[in-house]
Symmetry: C2
Subunit: 274 residues, 2 copies
Amino acid sequence: MEKKYNSEEEFLKDYDSSRFEKLSMTADILIFSISDEATNNYRKLSKKHFSVLLVKRDDYPFKDKWCLPGGFVQIDEDLEDAPKRILAKETNIHNIYLEQLYTFGAVNRDPRMRIVSTSYMALIDKNRLNDKLHKNASWFNISITEDNNIVDICLENGIEEIKFKIKKTLKELTTDRYKFEVLENDKLAFDHPLVILAGIERLKNKIEYTDIVFNMMPEYFTLGELQQVYEIILGKKLLDPAFRRIIADKVEKTDKMKTGGGHRPSVLFKYKKH
Amino acid sequence: MEKKYNSEEEFLKDYDSSRFEKLSMTADILIFSISDEATNNYRKLSKKHFSVLLVKRDDYPFKDKWCLPGGFVQIDEDLEDAPKRILAKETNIHNIYLEQLYTFGAVNRDPRMRIVSTSYMALIDKNRLNDKLHKNASWFNISITEDNNIVDICLENGIEEIKFKIKKTLKELTTDRYKFEVLENDKLAFDHPLVILAGIERLKNKIEYTDIVFNMMPEYFTLGELQQVYEIILGKKLLDPAFRRIIADKVEKTDKMKTGGGHRPSVLFKYKKH
DNA sequence: CTAATAGTGTCTATTAGACAGTATGTT
DNA sequence: AACATACTGTCTAATAGACACTATTAG
């Protein structure tokens, strides 16, 4: 029989916080951005890639594998402050777009002990980064194909290639939710393949009904560049007039132009808030 | 200087899991359903309500306040199994729609100690529940109004009324994300006002592009009933022909009819998977 | 007959998709 | 001149919104 208390204070004074075995939490961050690939044809636009920042692990566990930037949530730190702290360490930018993605908590997801991880998605404009990357960090371009509910993801940074496959199976009857299962993965630590996929899907989805893309754009951009970004994230070509109609009220014409491309110059636009 | 290890096994054997102070986790579940309100006019359809299951707290902390069903995540239990276990205890239904909502982790959200809580949203058809509710549990009808970024929510179960207000403030520059702040709240424990709002918003959003509503519908229903459910969740009237066009390929006509309403009988439909 | 809901036809307005055409810089 | 991209006009198809009308039952 439990003891009876007369007030909240009395109860709290007596509370045994070790009644349940405690666990650790980490925060992992998917930092997404857009990369430019130089072209050898002076006329052509530089090809854009959608990329994610990974860190090579120096230490155990998963030594020499790649993982998302992350770290332990401190006992006196709000959950959402952990990714902010890590982001500040990893980049030198302030005011970064950050949103909570999903909390992963399989019992054996970490070999050290029970660790639950809340993942976050951050979107940045790489150009603001002025090369202050952490020494083990590297941008990987993402390519993704899906066939018959098997998702193939390939990440490459010019030196190394990371490939993995994830199987999606319909979980419940009346839902759009899937169960995700990692089929092949040599080079990524933890359950990070799942986190990466979750982030890509969230972004793909949100780009259609929010303005989050602009977090990855420089201050001034051409509509062609913006369209390219939409195209690589959505994974499909868009028709120019339709695209321009849709984003017309999200952008603002400036009096600047982008010239020097071996073709007609393009007007530079700015993001315009609602 | 850290010790150097030669293998993952060696490292793990030596790993000190108490390097960071650990914390506890709970899972809270928003169980949503649709309630019928009896009418005194034999002709009229019974009014439908959108409702949430709350539990009155018998013990400290927050003794005598209402809260969401929830409990501690066990050390040897997958995160997503915790809400399933709690749901099984609270209801007698299997195969319930369950989706992870958000993880709340403010340092002082629980007066006992550091507790991070992952919230889940469950959708059920109350009719399958055959009255096996937990003794302290009760269904509350939800009404919600928003004015000038202040959300007013009122929950009532026929006996008691729970009112609270939440202020939404735009957080970041280029996003749709808000910061939520509870302004008034006497009767709900913890940060559960925030959890409830997060759930309502998620559902409101998802009802438009998924089939989740059908998790709250009985096997056979009329299109009028289905439309009523859409209307209370979206908080607006819909036009019949438009509604029927939209859900046409999600439902299947049966040869059953619903009669006895003092008006033209209605064909009963079933959910049809894509 | 009447109140109340069920269910459909159709017109219009808006939005999305497609294609063709014109414009203009660099080498 | 020619290449590559920028940008626009317009036709058509599909979708959403609105309204009016018919149908059918219990009391």
